[in-house]
Every structure is written in structure tokens, then in C-alpha cells.
Symmetry: C2
């Protein structure tokens, strides 16, 4: 039986854990935004030590015993049982790794990030390769401690998206390939849309001034959020009322920082809008990577790339760039940010070709873990795959293998959730559009109407339920990839006047 005393021990443990989670989150955001490079080695060693302290808290045998008891205790409320179950699951995955190895891995990941950043800056994969190799070896070793019957890469996929594995992703990606590749071919043959005005000179100060307006429109304010700059945009959080997003400004590309801002605010809003009573505990977090990405991509693509969105926002953007955007209409601007074109950089890709970028990474990850692909020469492998799937020649490692941060910290199995999340978004948006007038909300500056719907049907649950359960709660149906494929087909058929 869970006595008052035991519950107190659980709450004390939760608080201690959340203190280290907070510290590590702030240190990480700091590192990736403003921290001076010369202090990296000093900080990384100490950050790893603090991660080890957290490791000890998470894997405390007395607590694991307690969590095990709590998760199945019939007298406890559902929220507490669910939280205990999720903590227990995390602990099981962590406790099998020896603490010294865990700490060493944390330090390696931090150093690997620095190496990736240096390699990208210098456009030289050879700087990053030895770290990538070590990161993969470390991951393999850590997973081997679990003694699972599951295939190694399947375990990784499951960690980011519970229930998913190679078999299911293969089915998913095959469905995508089957309908999207022909569609892409048809778009390529259609009359092309002029988007050249997006790539004029847009001074960064002007972009920042507009982004301040944009953040207001999105209701991302200093009460609960802060946006900084970084090399590879991400979102991080301390608690519901402390979410940090990042963006990256590019002088000759006005849409990049804007859409990445909308994207990251989607992640932040998901964290912010969870039910208050879960704050500081695991239930307040997004349930899976795919669900998280479904919210960021819903913001970016299903709201941010619509005419209604730009009917409100284009005049604000024109205030900063009256010359560059003089004769551009919301329709033209929207068409331009939706141009489909096989390209080099995932984060800049349009919705239609985006899944192919993910497919490249998925295929490479499968190969890295079944031994058919090696880190040596991986830059060349990358280039060949881009040629094969996207038909483009990669001119540099910076725009190729080094473009993404994710492998530097060992996030293998994560990329596929990006495509899956996009597909989730389609189904959520279809339902939302049945229930509220999304375009009117966007057009009239009432973005909060959409946010409220998402909060009520998705965000408030945090990870109280699994992703498939939330899909059913929100849309009344199980996940169906056809929402996504129908959406893309309809959108691009119309945009390119396809027959």
C-alpha cells in the first residue's frame, strides 16, 4: 500500500529530479545560444557530472521499487499511476547503463556537438566523423545493456515513438513514396511559381523587428517564453511557464527565420498548454517525438503556410521591407513559401519534398545500425542518396551531411518521427477545420482560437495518454496516413494547377 510517507518520498524525489532537469535544461539552452566557446570543455565536464547526479536520482533503487509499486496500485488515481509508469519505464532504460559510462557519454555528446558546429562552420566532415563514430559506438553499447530481444534500431525508434519499428515505418514510407514521388514529378513538369522575391537582401534587423510582431501574433510572450538565436533552431523548456525557442536569421532568405519561428513556437505552445496540475512532472511533457513534431509542423505548415495567415502577416512584414515586397499579394507570398522543389536542406524544404529528406536519414540510420553503412565516407553516401531520392547534387558537406545537429548527440531514430508528425498534423487539422473557422481566426489576428482548440483536444493531456489514444480523443479515429497524402495531393494540385 502506498502510505502518506511513501507519497511524500515520491514527491521529494520528483522535486529533486526537477531541480536537476531545470539546471541541465538551462545549461543546454545557454550552451547552444550564447555561451562562449572557450569555456566549452570546462562546462561540458561539469555538465556531465551534474547529469550523473541526475542519473543517481533517477536510478535510485528505493525509488524504482516505489515506482514499480505505484504504477500498479489500484488505490492511486490515474494521473499518479500513469506518471509512475512513465518514470519507471525511463528508469529501466537508464539504470542498466553503468554510471561512469553514462557520465562519459554525456560529456562525449557535448563535445560532439562542438565538433559538429566546428565541422559545419569549416565545411569539413572529417572534423565531425570521429565523434560521430564514437557516438554510434556508445549508443550501441548502451542499448546492448538492455538485453532486449528487439533489434537495436527498432529499440531506438520505439524510444522516440512508442510502438513504432522498422516494419511499420517501412510501410509508412512506402505509402508516402507511392503517392508523393509521382506528384513531385508532376509538379516539376508544371509551370513554375516565382519565389525569387523571397531571396533578395533582407537585413536581419528588419527581420527581427517583424519577428517581434510575429511572436505577439502567436501569443508567445515574455511571461512564459523567450526566443534566442542558434545555429540549428530547437525548443527547450524548464516548466510550463518557461519555454525557450530559437531561430536562425538568413540575410538572403526572408521566409526561413519566420517559418522556423512559427515551427518552434508550436513545440513551445504544446509544452506551455499542458494541464497546470501536471507542471514539473513527466505528465506535462509531450507524449512522443511524433506528437511534438505534429504540433510544430501544424503551426508551421498547416497554419503558417496558408493565405489566411499571410493576409494578416504580410502587411506587418511589408512595414519592414516595403521595397522588397512592394507588389506582392498574400496569395503570391503564400504560393512562394509553398514552392515545391527538390533541394538540399531539410529545414528549408517544402512540405511536399520534405518526407524524402527524412527518408534519406531513415535509410542511413538503418544502415548505420545494421552495419551496411559506415561513418567513414558517410558524406559520400549522403550525397549519393540525395542524388537518388531528390535528384540533387550536394555541393558541400555543410549543405549535406553536416546540415543537421541531431546525430551529434546520438538522436538516432528521431528523424522518422518528423515525417510521422507531419502526417499526424494533417489528421488533427482536418478535424480542427471541421470544428472552427481556422482561416477566419488567422486572417483576423486571432491565432489563439486555433491554440485553444489544440489545447483542448491535444495539448492539455501532456503525456497522460499514448499518442494513438490522443489521436482518437482529438479526431475520433485511429491514425490514417491518407489524411496527409490527400492533403498534399489536393494542395499541390491546386497550387500548380495540375490536371
Amino acid at each position: 500500500m502506498i502510505t502518506e510517507e511513501k507519497l511524500q518520498a515520491y514527491n521529494d524525489w520528483l522535486f529533486r529530479k526537477s531541480a536537476y532537469d531545470m539546471a541541465l535544461s538551462i545549461i543546454m539552452t545557454d550552451k547552444m545560444t550564447v555561451a562562449p566557446s572557450g569555456g566549452s570543455a570546462y562546462r561540458d565536464a561539469r555538465t556531465a557530472y551534474l547529469s550523473g547526479e541526475l542519473f543517481s536520482i533517477v536510478t535510485d533503487p528505493a525509488i524504482i521499487e516505489l515506482l514499480k509499486e505505484m504504477k500498479d496500485d489500484p488505490d492511486l488515481d490515474g494521473d499518479t499511476k500513469r506518471a509512475a509508469y512513465l518514470y519507471y519505464k525511463d528508469a529501466m532504460a537508464t539504470m542498466c547503463i553503468p554510471k561512469e559510462e553514462f557520465i562519459a557519454a554525456e560529456e562525449l555528446m557535448n563535445k560532439s556537438y562542438d565538433a559538429w558546429l566546428e565541422a559545419k562552420t569549416k565545411n569539413d566532415y572529417s572534423i565531425f566523423e570521429p565523434y560521430l563514430k564514437k557516438v554510434i559506438e556508445t549508443k550501441k553499447k548502451h542499448y546492448s545493456y538492455r538485453n532486449s530481444d528487439m533489434d537495436l534500431y527498432d529499440q531506438m525508434l520505439d524510444d522516440f515513438e512508442p510502438g513504432m519499428n522498422r516494419e511499420k515505418y517501412d510501410v509508412f514510407f512506402n505509402a508516402l513514396k507511392e503517392r508523393l514521388v509521382p506528384l513531385i514529378r508532376r509538379v516539376e513538369e508544371a509551370e513554375q511559381i516565382d519565389d525569387s522575391f523571397l531571396y533578395q537582401h533582407y537585413d536581419i534587423e528588419g527581420q527581427k523587428r517583424y519577428c517581434a510582431d510575429l511572436l505577439k501574433y502567436l501569443h508567445f510572450d515574455s511571461d512564459w517564453g523567450y526566443q534566442n538565436e542558434t545555429e540549428h533552431p530547437f525548443t527547450n523548456w524548464v516548466c510550463e511557464n518557461d519555454c525557450r525557442t530559437t531561430t536562425k536569421y538568413i540575410e538572403n532568405n526572408v521566409a526561413s527565420a519566420i517559418l522556423s519561428t512559427v515551427h518552434e513556437v508550436g513545440h513551445a505552445t504544446y509544452e506551455h498548454d499542458c494541464d497546470d496540475k501536471y507542471d514539473g512532472m513527466i505528465l506535462s511533457e509531450g507524449i512522443s517525438s511524433g506528437m511534438h513534431e505534429s504540433q510544430s509542423r501544424l503551426f508551421e505548415n498547416y497554419l503558417g503556410r496558408t493565405v489566411a495567415f499571410w493576409e494578416y502577416n504580410l502587411p506587418l512584414l511589408k512595414k519592414q521591407f516595403p521595397e522588397q515586397l512592394k507588389d506582392v499579394t498574400p496569395e503570391q507570398f503564400t504560393a512562394a513559401v509553398n514552392v515545391a522543389r527538390c533541394s538540399l536542406v531539410r529545414t528549408e524544404a517544402d512540405e511536399l519534398t520534405y518526407p524524402l529528406h527524412i527518408l534519406v536519414r531513415y535509410e542511413i540510420e538503418k544502415g548505420l545500425f545494421d552495419g551496411s553503412i559506415s561513418t567513414e565516407g558517410l558524406d559520400q553516401t549522403w550525397n549519393e542518396m540525395y542524388k537518388k531520392y531528390l535528384g540533387v547534387d550536394v555541393p558541400s558537406a555543410r549543405e549535406g551531411i553536416l546540415q543537421d545537429v541531431h546525430w551529434s548527440d546520438g538522436s538516432f531514430g528521431y528523424f522518422p518521427t518528423y515525417a510521422l508528425g507531419s502526417a499526424f498534423s494533417a489528421q488533427f487539422t482536418a478535424k480542427m477545420r471541421e470544428e472552427i473557422d481556422v482561416d477566419e481566426a488567422l486572417r483576423s489576428g486571432h491565432f489563439e482560437i486555433c491554440v485553444d482548440w489544440l489545447k483542448e483536444h491535444i495539448h492539455k493531456y501532456g503525456c497522460r495518454y499514448d499518442a494513438d489514444e490522443i489521436m482518437k480523443i482529438a479526431t475520433g479515429k485511429a491514425f490514417d496516413v491518407n489524411y496527409y497524402l490527400d492533403y498534399l495531393e489536393e494542395k499541390y494540385t491546386k497550387l500548380y494547377h495540375l490536371k
Copy 2:
């Protein structure tokens, strides 16, 4: 005898301690610059918990025993003995406080900061007063645990500037009053200098662009430093190669952010330029508040407010503000940033009247701790003192009692070191000017020549020696307040053409 094993225990302890110091430093900087306000309560409670973890490390009885042994061990090298002595001294001051009270106080200080910020924003002292009262009570209680024979406020003064007390500060401030008050009167009666051009509209983006040039000139770069914005500028650091400064931009005052930038970079450079071998241990830190302030004020006043400095920098500033500064010469600009005028805000004060601002705070602090002054009505007391010492009417709490952050976290005894530091700077600068051509270095864009001198004679020692020893090492003489008074007299006699 200090065995290898004991030394290892000491080094392990040092590392653990430095990990928490790092985390708390980053969390603090984050809080005071960008952290969303809504997350304050959540963060503050957890930050206090982590401070408690550090408390436990610092006051670990086994370590205190070891430090006690080490500080007097004849076989250890001087550096290690000195470090052990300083850690031991710190531990003695901390360990007498019960841990729960220590943690509660940390949380109180964080909340008190938020209350101060809110009070300042709303221009309402009553929001801050209850916190200030609690902070003072807490400080009194903590000091009472020491069971020292020394007077309470004397202990506080000694903590910030070892060896100082009310008696010595009274002598110091009397010497200042004696020579500076008549000088201020003479300046007031002289023909006034036009500084109105400093107070035109200077847009903040332009100020930021110039500050980027300025930071380059000062050799404050992203290898080892980062500058952010805050309400009340400060400097903080993680290690030698990770120093954070802050500034505050004011639209109708072009000199404010510039001089505060130069000031804070002085603090940062002192920390950065310590001997590498001390990094991560106590010896790497500045020896006292007065010494720290001597370096920031040396940068700000003795270098930053000179004609030579502006011969190089004014053209850079004019690039951003060609209209506002069209006909202004370096001599006129320098004269304007040196205008002496009894005013309201300490951080904006000129060198000559600055010590009077400190005197007000010193008198109030004495009164708060001998019981003759209360926090209730302290805004009125403040206003009366400003009338008495500076002859000005304080129109609002924001420009009065609420202008400084320092009392919100209980830094009583700190302000007097600001005046003392200014006086130290004079003596250091006199010596530096004997040995190198400071003006030529500033004029020609070789600020590093000054920095190198300071590093060689002051910075590299960290707190290897006491402040008075460093004064002798650097200048060959004991501290003499007349360097300061002579400097001010000569400077202002010339500037205002006094007879």
C-alpha cells in the same frame, strides 16, 4: 601530512563544488537577462535547492577538516595553501547557518529580486519594502550565528573588503568629503559644459551596432565572453573563458550603455586574465569587491572617459549617428561624458559626484544595522539624504530608493567598495601611465596594451594575495587616497578652467 589520497579528495571536492558553482552562475545570469517571468517561482524554488546541495558540499565536515590541515601544511606549495585558507574561511562563514535556513534565504533573495524588479517597473517602493525587511532580518540572523565579537555591519564590510570596517571607511569618506565637496561647489559655479547632444534620440539598434565595434576594441569576444541586456548591468562568470557581461540601452542617452559596457568588460577582463593554472579554483577570482571595482572603474573612467579613447571611438560612433554627432569633436565628447552635476542615479553619475552617491548608501546601511533607520519610510529617508548630500529632489522611487539592485539580494557592505575601488584605480593608473603610453594605446586602437599591463601587474594574481599586497606589488606603495583626490582635482580643475 597531506597524502596523495587526501589531495585527490580535495581535487574531487573542488570539481564537485565547481559544477554547482557553474550551474548556479548560469541559472543566475539567465534569470537576470532572458528567463520568462512566469517561471520564476518554479525556478527559484529549485535554484534554492541546488544552492543547498552546494551548501552541503562546502560545509562537508571531512573537507573542512582537510582544508584546515592543508592551509597550514608546510610541505604544500603556496598556491594550494592559499586556496585552502580561502575555502576554509568561506566554509567557516557558511557552516554556522542551518542548511534549511540557508536554502530558505536563497529562495527569499530570488523572490526579493523579482519584487524589486516589479517595484521598479511600477515605481512603487511598497512592493519591495516587505522583502527588503525580510532580507535584512535574514542577514542579521545569519551573521548572529557567527558569534563574532565584531559589530554586525563591520563583519559585512569585512566580507566584501577584508580588513575594512566602519572606522576606516569613516576616515576614507571624510577625506573624500573634505576635498571633494568644495571642489564640487567650485565646479557648480564655473561655466557649464554643453552635453545636451548626448541626450538626443539615439535609436537602440544603432547603439547596439556601435557596441559591437566597441566590444571588438576592448577585445571582449565570443571565445570567452558574451554580453546580454538586463535592468541593472552586472558581470558574472563560470570560468576564465566564460565571462558574461550585461548592459542596458537607453534611447535618449547615448553614453549610458557605452560606459556601462566598458565598466562591465573591466570586471570580465579581471576574471579572464587570471593565471590559467588557477582556473576553476578560488584563486582565479578577484580578491575583493574593491579590487574588482577598481578594474571596472579603471576601464570606465580612467580609460573610457579620456580624449584618447574617444579619438579612436567617436568616428565609429558617428558611423551610426552621423546627424546627432555631426560637429562634435573627441574633446567635446569627452568633456560631455565628464560633466559633473549632482544628479539622481548612481550608475549615471560622473566621477566627481559619484562618491556622494555611495556615501548616501553607506550612511543608510549603517543606520539599517544599528537600528536608527527602518525599511518603513526608507524611500523618504533616501530622498532626504539625497537632498542633504547631493542637493537634489528625488521625483520618484524608481530614480530613488529603487534604482539599485544590490539590497534585493542582501549585499549590504558592498557599496562602500565602489568608492574604494575608484580610489584604488587612481593609484594603479598613475603607475601604469609611468610605465606605458596609455593615451597612444587608446588612440591607436591598441587597448590590449593597457590590458596586458593590468594582467601582468594585477589580474594574473587573482586572489593569490590580499588586496593591499597586490597594491604594493603593482604600484610599489601602500594604498594612498591622495592619488584619487589629486587626480579628481587636477582633472576637474582643467576641465572647468578653475583657478
